[in-house]
Symmetry: C2
């Protein structure tokens, strides 16, 4: 489970294809065939064939210059992930928050031992920006991360506290101290991080409550030189409350539109478009 290698001796074709897709990341959004081969660990001839199939299936696109990139079809499929529900629902409130405070806003959900950035908004000004949607943040040294950690299941807490990696001189690496902070967070419903992840950047965050406990966190970022965050706290809490309310109201993570009775014959074969 620790192996960073994604494609050692993948028996199944599907896994190999997945390995090809996995060759793409934030720093490599377009790759030529050879790069694809090297980064996926698959022989050139093999990846040539697989990539051709993926292009035919529209998951990849081959540009004029021969490089591959993620296709619109894959993009659209990704939008069907549950993360999108949360995003759509929260977006208006996040916008209000940006407008009201002028700070950069993060919406994150737990993802293993990390925090997955679902959305990041910042005004045209006021952007110490980084960490676009899709990025992962550590749990122990960001405000949003700490919120999630404070309400995370035991195993996750253990995994995280087992490796408190230092990011800056301010990163909390003492398990004791961290646990005290987590207690405080559970008590107050507010987490802080002062330059613990990046120098010059502070943040505050609050939990978002779903049907089963804390399912997300909303945070504000500010550079030390800009306006302080304290004044924004009421807005932050209000936004989180609104999102939680909408979340519960919409019964997310719930049964979902359950297939219609399907009276007649087979009835499911092929029908709707997006």
């Amino acid at each position: 489970m620790r192996s960073p290698d994604v494609s050692p001796r993948s028996r199944s074709v599907t896994l190999r294809a997945t390995a090809v897709l996995g060759a793409f990341d934030a720093e490599h959004r377009t790759l030529n065939l050879s790069q694809l081969s090297r980064r996926s660990g698959l022989p050139l001839a093999t990846v040539h064939r697989l990539a051709a199939d993926l292009v035919e299936g529209q998951l990849l696109v081959r540009r004029g210059d021969g490089r591959y990139e993620i296709g619109a079809r894959l993009w659209r499929l990704g939008l069907l992930a549950p993360a999108t529900n949360l995003r759509e629902l929260a977006l208006p409130h996040l916008q209000d928050l940006v407008v009201a405070t002028g700070h950069t806003v993060h919406l994150v959900v737990p993802d293993g031992a990390g925090a997955l950035v679902i959305e990041r908004l910042s005004g045209t000004r006021s952007t110490p920006t980084r960490h676009n949607p899709g990025a992962r943040l550590p749990l122990h040294c960001t405000a949003v991360g700490k919120v999630l950690l404070a309400f995370a299941p035991g195993p996750v807490v253990e995994e995280v506290t087992g490796d408190l990696r230092r990011h800056t001189a301010y990163t909390v690496t003492d398990v004791r101290v961290l646990h005290r902070q987590l207690d405080e967070i559970r008590r107050t419903g507010l987490a802080r991080s002062a330059q613990e992840h990046r120098l010059g950047v502070s943040s505050v965050a609050v939990p978002v409550h779903g049907t089963d406990g804390v399912t997300a966190a909303i945070g504000l970022l500010a550079s030390l030189t800009g306006p302080r965050l304290t004044g924004a706290l009421p807005h932050l809490r209000a936004a989180a409350a609104s999102v939680s309310a909408d979340l519960l109201r919409s019964g997310l993570a719930a049964p979902s539109p359950e297939e219609p009775p399907a009276g007649g014959r087979g009835g499911d074969g092929k029908s709707s478009a997006q």
Copy 2:
């Protein structure tokens, strides 16, 4: 090439796997095994195996109740699509636009004979909302669509004008009239649609200029009962100009970070994480 059926006699395993993914759409974000089988047109046993592989590859996730949904991995991969570049770049300006006008904003790009919605923002109020990111809009009866159509290559124009489907009583179905409108759009850089797509909804849109011509369109939506759109035009034009400027400045759709010299040996094998 015309067959609407996506998975009739797909030779390659990869295409079958793609067909499984294709079983998901906006109305079917979670599916159980049988639905997956029916919607993908593949035998139960086959889809059972393929889905298991996809789950292992993290493209799908199997929930506690046995249903499948799009996995976070796939979501993140999708974010690597070029559409995301445009979105990130445009987002701040779109927000300003929402704040300044109170209307709902659409950012779309051409996709075959349709318009692909890249982003849709609306204030907490003022939301006749529909058409989330990932949705496709027709080119002949929406403001954003007409903008793209006005600057689209010949074949696309032919395909679209060959089938001017009526959506409401106001839809323009006369090719002559449409062409006159397109001329006007090219002249003025502004497109309108008054209830041509949905009753009670009007829209205006302007083009966004990239390195090679018009690469996107930004539009405003308003219900008939709400405030008029005319007052918002200057803001709309300003936003589009800002996005165009950022787009050209960042040299998008351009070479992209070109692999570093790669001096030493093989050098590309395996390295970065998101």
